[in-house]
């Protein structure tokens, strides 16, 4: 394998170069006979296509290929869209088993979806590998192209080789005598069009918008920064996304803060529009019943003082009060708390009267805190009530025994022993909501339901994201790259004298019409003829055949 290619002009090019970096002579035999040359990457040697010896080179070359990059994009696009057909695993009801859920809900296609792993697509190993491969491809393909392109554009000489000029898409020869004055005019005209004009031995290179050639690489850099942002979310402390359920009056450690912060729910309320006050909505209120105006949790944020062990009594310093509403989160120290869900009227206390069933006479009132019930409730005049059993979330199990299915007081039930002067041993009564049983025989007394106290529960999303700015930076750079590459183009015009003739060639990476217009305006008033578009000429020629 040849290490270098020597051009006749004396420039030494890397192996694999198609057009001499300096003078533009066609070095690749395959291109020597073609009518026009391939100007992609300035005919520079894409590094990947040269050395292919070690395994590292082979891997490198694989990722350098645009075909591979495009295939990866297509695979990811298809996979990502398939992932949206059915809900992802984290969005199915938490009580459902994914294995059963998908088949039950979506039939055979759901089963297939589950078996192929699409239910957990975006964090599946093969999806992540594809993303990583795409990132690798972006980086390597860019390095492989931007370095030689930069070299070629930097090393280009003003006077190019005949073959290079002849094989440009825009090319023309004019025979003329009075050249010198025309050249000065053309130069001025080009400069007024913001071309950078360089002259050497009477040859002109006018160039404009070279920086647009870097657009795609800037764009790729933005994408890579974006991917790095996604990766950083895995680092501990960078990203928190938790849910915190908080009852009124309750103070809890905030998940994701390692015990540093605690939040107290002072009050949670749901406000609705009033038909009388908010006339605007009266028609809508008539239609749907109630319309919510506001969901609001009034909270207090505390920070723990000093280092205490879990379970140890800690001192908390109040930081601030805040009313969390929808879209009005509480923010502190990179954490944000958003209103996300709620539960109204959870039972907190129940009140009963001890009552004689026949005379309806009462002998005192007891209030039972459902979070912290007592064993014994003493009443006056020798009356008392013993709480024998308490079931916060009562149901009968398979043996018809009363049990609780959770610690939450959704459906409280009690077994009372009512001790009265006339029944000193007590009478046992089972009391649940709208239900009273007397398991040990007919009682004289009963616990008459007298009222409940309720509280609301709020659910807050706890969010911390230290990676967000990286996504903004990446996205911004991405857009700069797109704009750079899309709204500007790299135009070059070569004008050279050769034996009483003037050779003129033009090249642009896009928008040939703009370049042609530039040339025709520059040549206006001179006797140099406009160059021909060899691509159009070729197409016309082919049509005529």
């Amino acid at each position: 394998m040849k290490e270098v290619v020597n051009c006749e002009c004396g420039h030494v090019n890397p192996h694999g170069t198609i057009l001499c970096e300096s003078c533009g002579r066609v070095l690749d035999d395959a291109q020597k006979d073609s009518k026009m040359i391939d100007m992609r990457y300035e005919g520079s040697a894409r590094r990947s296509q040269t050395y292919n010896k070690s395994i590292i080179d082979k891997i490198w070359n694989f990722f350098s290929s645009v075909k591979v990059g495009v295939s990866l994009i297509v695979i990811l696009l298809i996979a990502s869209s398939v992932g949206t057909i059915f809900p992802q695993e984290q969005y199915i009801p938490p009580t459902e088993l994914p294995k059963v859920f998908y088949e039950k809900e979506y039939g055979f296609s759901g089963k297939l979806y589950y078996l192929l792993g699409f239910h957990n697509l975006y964090s599946s190993w093969w999806y992540l590998i594809c993303i990583a491969m795409l990132g690798t491809s972006l980086l390597i393909a860019s390095i492989d192209r931007v370095v030689p392109l930069y070299r070629s554009l930097k090393k280009q000489k003003i006077a190019r080789h005949e073959g290079f000029l002849k094989k440009q898409r825009l090319f023309g020869i004019t025979s003329t005598d009075k050249q010198a004055s025309d050249f000065e005019e053309i130069k001025k005209s080009l400069e007024s069009r913001r071309y950078k004009v360089k002259e050497e031995n009477g040859n002109i290179l006018a160039e404009k918008g070279r920086f647009s050639r870097w657009g795609p690489y800037v764009n790729h850099a933005g994408l890579i920064i974006f991917l790095i942002g996604g990766m950083l979310r895995f680092l501990p402390g960078m990203y928190v996304d938790e849910v915190l359920w908080l009852r009124e009056g309750e103070m809890k450690e905030i998940p994701g803060t390692e015990g540093q912060y605690a939040l107290k729910n002072n009050q949670f309320k749901v406000e609705v529009y009033d038909k009388e006050e908010d006339q605007t909505f009266s028609a809508a209120i008539d239609k749907v019943g109630t319309i919510v105006k506001n969901y609001q949790a009034d909270v207090t944020l505390y920070e723990k003082e000093g280092n205490t062990l879990p379970g140890e009594d800690a001192k908390f310093q109040k930081i601030k009060d805040h009313s969390i509403k929808v879209n009005v989160p509480l923010k502190h120290d990179h954490f944000a708390f958003y209103q996300v869900d709620y539960k109204l009227d959870e039972l907190s206390e129940m009140t009963f009267n001890l009552m004689n069933k026949s005379t309806k006479e009462t002998f005192g009132t007891i209030t039972i805190s459902l979070d912290d019930p007592k064993t014994m409730y003493k009443l006056q005049n020798g009356y008392s009530v013993e709480l024998m059993s308490y079931f916060p979330d009562f149901e009968f199990d398979e043996n018809q025994e009363p049990v609780t299915k959770s610690p939450v007081p959704n459906n409280p039930a009690f077994i009372f022993n009512m001790k009265t002067p006339d029944k000193p041993e007590g009478e046992v009564s089972f009391v649940a909501i709208q239900q009273t049983l007397e398991p040990l025989g007919e009682n004289t007394y009963k616990m008459a339901f007298a009222g409940v106290d309720t509280r609301n529960v709020t659910a807050l999303t706890v969010r911390k994201d230290l990676t967000l700015w990286i996504f903004f930076v990446g996205g911004g750079i991405f857009m700069i790259g797109v704009i750079q590459g899309a709204y500007w183009n790299h135009r070059r015009i070569w004008i050279q004298r050769k034996d009483g003739e003037i050779w003129l060639a033009g090249h642009t990476n896009k928008n040939w019409h703009g370049l042609k217009r530039d040339i025709s305006m520059v040549l206006e008033g001179t006797n140099i003829t406009e160059p021909k578009d060899q691509l159009e000429a070729k197409e016309v020629g082919e049509k005529e055949k």
């Binding site: 590094r47 050395y51 080179d57 964090s123 990766m231 809890k252 019930p373 064993t375 308490y390 610690p407």
Partner: protein, 176 residues
């Protein structure tokens, strides 16, 4: 030659960096649930709780002894099932340097006391009122049992109900 070598080194370095990023992402992704959970081999986080009799128990005070740390709730059937077995084994192993600490996940004193009386439990039972200990140990769902050796290291975490036989085996594992 020099140039080629430099290129090989550059390429290898870039590929190695990208490979490391991929391995890190995959590893982080598949361990993200586990990272949150407390794992075997970790040092057990210290805590202080007061039992039903008013005695404080600090985990680090039990250095030199094995500790079977059990998280439970009164409504949880599998928890209830293993309680008598734990108590039997406690009677045998407390003389041999294995302690049982049963942490209730923050229910009312009433419920926990009734439960302890019903099953005549003799090992220390404490209520994690503000749920700090269960948060520190990432407890969910119940029951969860942590086996902590004499050096305060977590030997194993066990989810689900345990039979008397397996409790006995686990007690052997953490016996000093």
């Amino acid at each position: 030659m020099d140039k080629k070598q430099r290129r090989l080194i550059m390429r290898s370095a870039i590929l190695a960096l990208l490979g490391a990023a991929l391995v890190f992402s995959l590893y982080a992704n598949f361990t993200k649930d586990k990272v949150e959970a407390v794992q075997k081999g970790d040092m057990a986080r210290d805590f202080v709780l007061t039992d039903l009799d008013g005695n404080t128990h600090k985990l680090s005070d039990y250095k030199g002894q094995g500790v079977l740390l059990n998280f439970w709730g009164t409504w949880c059937k599998p928890c209830e099932y293993e309680m008598p077995f734990m108590d039997n084994q406690y009677q045998i192993y407390k003389e041999q340097g294995v302690q049982i600490l049963a942490v209730n996940v923050g229910e009312s004193n009433y419920s926990v006391k009734k439960f302890a009386e019903k099953h005549q439990l003799t090992f220390p039972i404490m209520i994690d009122k503000n749920k700090q200990v269960q948060t520190a140990y990432k407890v969910d769902p119940l029951p969860v049992t942590f086996l902590i050796d004499k050096n305060g290291r977590i030997v194993d975490t066990l989810t689900g109900s345990l039979s008397e036989e397996s409790i006995q085996k686990h007690m052997e594992r953490i016996k000093p």
